[in-house]
Amino acid sequence: MNDRVEVRKTYKLFIKGAFPRSESGRTYEVHDTDDKFLANAAKASRKDARDAVLAARAGFDGWSAATAYNRGQVLYRVAEVMEGRREQFIADVQAAEGSGDKKSARVVDAAIDRLVWYAGWADKYAQVVGNTNPVAGPYFNFTIPEPTGVVAAIAPQDSSLLGLVSVIAPIVVTGNAVIVVASTRRPIPAITLTEVLATSDVPPGVINVLTGDPAEIAPWLASHGDVNAIDLTGVTSAELAKKLEIEAAGTVKRVRPPAQPNWLANPDLGRLRSFVETKTVWHPLGA
């Protein structure tokens, strides 16, 4: 038996590329599926959510202006760095979800592959969902997708890594910035992911990760005037979902409803299309 005392990690939030504690000073206990203590995670507050929105808005400007090629490479880089930490992710998922070695490995591999899949869409989706329009007149007219802006997302509660990646990748690949609230009871794979994000050329503010209680944090995000859309995928309470939709209506946010899909299944473009705007440009033709 190794008698070395391990160095344990402090688990914090991920805002603007840095790792702050919650400004509230609060934490909550995280346990594995056998109820064994794993860590104290930061319990994000309203102030943390607002800081994350500020960071996301600042991050959005540069990220949405980056070339599609660049965004694709950054997301691919995230996959590369995840691959290097594969064993850690498998251990994290195993502890969080109580899944066996094989299942955990399958989930981590799927998460990495999903990032690669979405990374490749960065410079293709505009070709698939954009077009020119043959208007009846002497005009050149074209339609292109543009990112919606700042998106708040509630990550799946069960699928702590694959579900999380499947939610945030389609949001950011098109140029949006995201504030994601990680699975409340299974936040550790998300926190490990933030360490990958911090070392993968993801610009600060593009992906911000909060841990804590969606019922406490999400209403502030849903009503925030500088959040353009909200993804309720991981909201498990119909009552909370309704409340968030009501808050979101106050600023005409785009809302993606709660869902519990099979995350191992191959996705389509639905999530990606959920957080883009359609812009149409007209110009006269003439010699």
Partner: protein, 489 residues
């Protein structure tokens, strides 16, 4: 210099207006169960045109039930090819009866006959023709193979383009296999009732299109009805938000086309005369009752004086008056309520220190009118620079650099449209990229086409009308139920 014009009124002989109208439910005209009515008035003369029926809860139920029955039994099982033929028939009937629709629209709405005749009605017919062709090609709509209709759509439209908004709503819904219950605005229901007659002439199966008239209460009953799968609303941002709240927690899908406060941006290299035409078209088309109107004019500082002078000269030649006169440029304001709202905002412009100029023109004795008005010395803090006026009122601001133009243009919760006037191609594309709005007109303004998606960013709403993107508002992917996201189709 003044021009004298002889009157050139369009003949009224082509329309016959009934003294009263019922509701169009299940292919028939029926009167409401409790007989409540309201009057529709010609805003240019204040004369009552007809009595309309106000649909109550049991009428709304009947309309939704008819739409559901017809969806289940007829429309959802009919081939796309056959749905297409009905839509083609409707397009042709609209073309055949175009003049009748134009005159009726002008009578009920107050817009100039030149606009109803040349824009509203032809575009409405074109919308049906375009969408007719989609009905049997939905596999190519971009949502994967075999996309599905949503079911029964509840559609609520405004008074500024009554028939055109009806076409924007009904054509894509039907093409995608949905049935509809449509509520026109309470001040402009007549062309919708004439459209109901067109549905009968086309032998459209009963219940595919149901039209119920009434005001906000009727609209609310429609929005809240359990039998509705989809709400499509065009109107004010305030009502749009309340609809969003009302359907929270349901599976109803929603598209919203709401207000705007578009910037029309003129750079110093733009051809001023062309730009002035675009500015006039941008804000004085349809008396400024246009959600995408270019209501904030942003002039580059070095050409501001020259452009404002040219604009004022041009505005003096606009003819305000009888909407049925073919020479009329500015028609009547649709309702006294709207006129009051415009006056209230004009007063706020005066009170907050902007400088007002009003085009000299004779205001008719009867009816509701507002002369073209231009405010200069407007700051971004003024209400007239922030709020949608929905009238012939232009707020002029200035800028020095392209960056400043972008910042000012985007400094609004709205994001429906924007205009750019410059000869420099790279600047057009850069500006088009920077502006957070759904429709960008460069060296033109207020152009519409069924193939061209229309709709907003931010609080101007979500979802598109027209083009391939517009189909997503009435379809769901065969395998992705989460595609039913609100505003994220």
């Amino acid at each position: 210099m003044t021009f004298e014009y002889a009157p050139a009124p369009e003949s009224l002989a082509i329309v016959s207006i009934a003294p009263s109208y019922g509701l169009f439910i299940n292919g028939e005209f029926v009167y409401p169960t409790d007989g409540t009515t309201f009057k529709t008035i010609n805003p240019a003369t204040e004369e009552v045109l007809a009595e309309m029926s106000e649909a109550n809860q049991s009428d709304v139920n009947a309309a939704v039930n008819a739409a559901r029955r017809s969806y289940d039994r007829i429309w959802s099982v009919m081939s796309g090819r056959d749905r297409a033929k009905y839509l083609f028939r409707i397009a042709r009937l609209l073309q055949e009866r175009a003049r009748e629709f134009a005159v009726l629209e002008t009578l009920d709405n107050g817009k100039p006959i030149r606009e109803s005749r040349d824009i509203d009605v032809p575009l409405a017919a074109a919308h049906f023709f375009y969408h007719a062709g989609w009905a049997d090609k939905l596999d190519y709509a971009g949502l994967g193979p075999n996309p599905q209709a949503l079911g029964v759509a509840g559609q609520i439209i405004p008074w500024n383009f009554p028939l055109l908004m009806l076409a924007w709503k009904i054509a894509p819904a039907l093409a995608c296999g949905n049935t509809v219950v449509l509520k026109p605005a309470e001040t402009t229901s007549l062309t919708a009732m004439l459209f109901a007659e067109v549905c009968q002439q086309a032998d459209l199966p009963p219940g595919v299109v149901n039209i119920i008239t009434g005001a906000g209460d009727t609209g609310r009953m429609l929005v809240e009805h359990d039998g509705i799968d989809k709400i499509a609303f065009t109107g004010s941002t305030e009502v749009g938000k309340s609809i969003g709240r009302a359907i929270a927690g349901t599976n109803k899908r929603l598209t919203l086309e709401l207000g705007g406060k578009a910037a029309n941006i003129v750079f110093d290299d733009a051809p001023i005369d062309q730009a002035v035409e675009g500015i006039v078209d941008g804000i004085f088309f349809n008396q400024g009752h246009v959600c995408c109107a270019g209501s904030r004019l942003l002039l580059q500082e070095s050409i501001a004086e020259e452009t404002i002078a040219a604009l004022k000269l041009r505005l003096q030649t606009l003819r305000l008056g009888d909407p049925l006169d073919k020479n009329t440029d500015i028609g009547a304001i649709n309702s006294p309520e709207q006129l009051n709202k415009i006056h209230e905002l004009i007063k706020s412009g005066d009170d907050e220190g902007a400088q007002r100029w009003t085009a000299p023109c004779d205001i008719p004795d009867k009816g509701w009118w507002c002369a073209p008005t231009v405010f200069t010395n407007v700051t971004q803090a003024h209400r007239i620079a922030r709020e949608e006026i929905f009238g012939p009122v232009l707020s002029v601001l200035t800028f020095r650099t392209p960056d400043e133009a972008v910042e000012k243009a985007n400094n609004t919760p709205f994001g429906l449209s924007a205009g750019i006037w410059t000869e420099k191609g790279s600047r057009i594309l850069w500006m088009a990229n920077q502006l957070r709005a759904g429709v960008i007109w460069a060296n033109t303004f207020n152009r519409f086409d069924p193939t061209s998606p229309f709709g907003g960013f931010k609080e101007s709403g979500f979802g598109r009308e027209g083009g391939i993107q517009g189909l997503a508002a009435y379809l769901q992917a065969a395998n992705d139920s989460a595609d039913q996201a609100r505003g994220t189709s």
